[in-house]
């Protein structure tokens, strides 16, 4: 079985300061993995490497079996960047439907009708059907976050990458968002999510990859709670998370 994501001995540094050192892991179809770690541990950097925004100085990344340098099927990958809702200020004139359609901007092969159908379908999947003509800036932070998720889903990807998607969103909206991700995962979507919220690991995901420049842990989320090195940097408060079965 070809891994959806294959990271092999990847290293990266900013101006000589190492951020990632020899990181290797694989994700297979249907996986739902949280990428966690302290600030500056290289989580967002790794995600940016996966979507081709940064090039690793050492090692190799393969998506769907293809080296990143040869990978062209970006419609198979959906990406929700960090703090994306911060872009929505009072001058942005986009409607919800137009925002979601941006996710198809590179798909010149799709007819107008097909594009419309995909936008409607993506909004239905995130529970925002009927809000197509609302202005994006008029929605709540949680709803905006779901619009950006719909934008990533519009291309009907097989792999979804999210970088701290619920930052600045209230707890109830966060819970709804993660439940939605769980549902999408059950539909077959492979998901890798960068998060600081260790509670998410316990409640929603199947796997955890823990970074602190190098990969400290990758495996089942139940085992994660008991891993001694992980407890070392997540702190005593998180060590006490009591949902390990």
């Amino acid at each position: 079985m070809i891994p959806v994501v294959e990271v092999e001995k990847v290293s990266f540094s900013y101006d000589g300061e190492p951020v990632l050192e020899g990181v290797s892991f694989r994700l297979f179809s249907g996986d739902f993995c949280a990428l966690i770690g302290p600030n500056g541990s290289g989580k967002s950097t790794l995600l940016k490497i996966l979507v081709g925004l940064l090039r690793p100085q050492e090692g190799q990344v393969r998506l769907f079996g293809k080296p990143l340098s040869e990978f062209r099927q970006w419609h198979r990958v959906g990406y929700v960047p960090q703090k994306v809702t911060a872009l929505v200020d009072r001058v942005v004139p986009l409607t919800v439907a137009e925002t979601v359609a941006l996710g198809l901007a590179a798909r010149q092969d799709l007819s107008r009708q097909e594009r419309h159908l995909r936008v409607v379908r993506a909004l239905e999947r995130v529970g925002l059907a009927g809000k197509e003509n609302r202005l994006l800036r008029e929605l709540s932070g949680g709803q905006q976050q779901r619009v950006f998720l719909a934008r990533a889903l519009a291309g009907e990807p097989e792999l979804l990458l999210l970088d701290e998607p619920t930052t600045g969103v209230d707890f109830a909206s966060q819970e709804r968002f993660y439940e939605l991700l769980g549902k999408l995962n059950q539909e077959g979507l492979t998901i890798l999510i960068v998060t600081h919220d260790i509670g998410v690991v316990d409640r929603h995901v199947k796997q955890v990859a823990c970074l602190n420049r190098r990969l400290v842990f990758h495996g089942d989320h139940h085992q994660f709670c008991r891993h001694p090195e992980v407890c070392g940097f997540t702190g005593p408060r998180h060590h006490l998370v009591g949902h390990c079965h």
Partner: protein
Amino acid sequence: MTFLREYTFLWPALVGGLALGVAGALIGIFLILRRDSLLPHALTHVALVGVALGFLTTRWPLLWALGVTVLAAFAVLEIRERAGIYEDTAVGILAGLGMALALVLASVAGSYDVRLLSYLFGNILALSASEALLAVALAFLVAGVLASRGEALFFVAFDEESAATCGLRVRLLKFWLAALTAALVVLGMRMVGLLLVSALMVIPGAAALEIAHGLRQCYLFSALFGALSVLGGLAAAVLFNLPPSGAIVLFSGLLFLLSFGLRRLK
């Protein structure tokens, strides 16, 4: 119509002005969303270097201006990405250096006089028929680019990082935007002068963004405000014997105030 038959010299000003007003306003939307509203202002200063080079070589000042301005626009993109300089700092450095170099070159060329000043304030009424046709061609090019790649350009202006991950050729799109901005700046410099051309590109777009509900309305209002600015300004200039460039930009400012007020009334 009798008025226009009588004042035939107004035709190039009207046609060229409308074309540039509409095209500049449309491109202005993208500049505002990229927080790049000062880019045309900096480019006008560099365009003056091209004009001075034209004086120095005694030919084609506008062609020189176009070449130098397009190169400068590309340079700004590169400097920001590679040198890690703040955008407004890069723009400030470019504007200052451009103006200084232009003054030195014009002085060396012995044209530090009224010819140089004519580019500072422009004169839409002195637009030739060929310049008006050039403006129309540029407007069609802008419309063509927006019709075919408008959504992609908007995506890049709004959220560059996500646009890059969708497989869009972000760098190429940014170069298109920079090149169109540079071309509009150079032609706009003839029309309203380098001191005011950036205002004509930014104010109608800003007015449209105040009241537009959706991208399509944004394009529509922006083009409309660009056209109305030129028409209203020209009419005021002819009727009240005002400097056309100032009247055009003031009219666009009036439209901005109206849309700003309208939004607050909603």
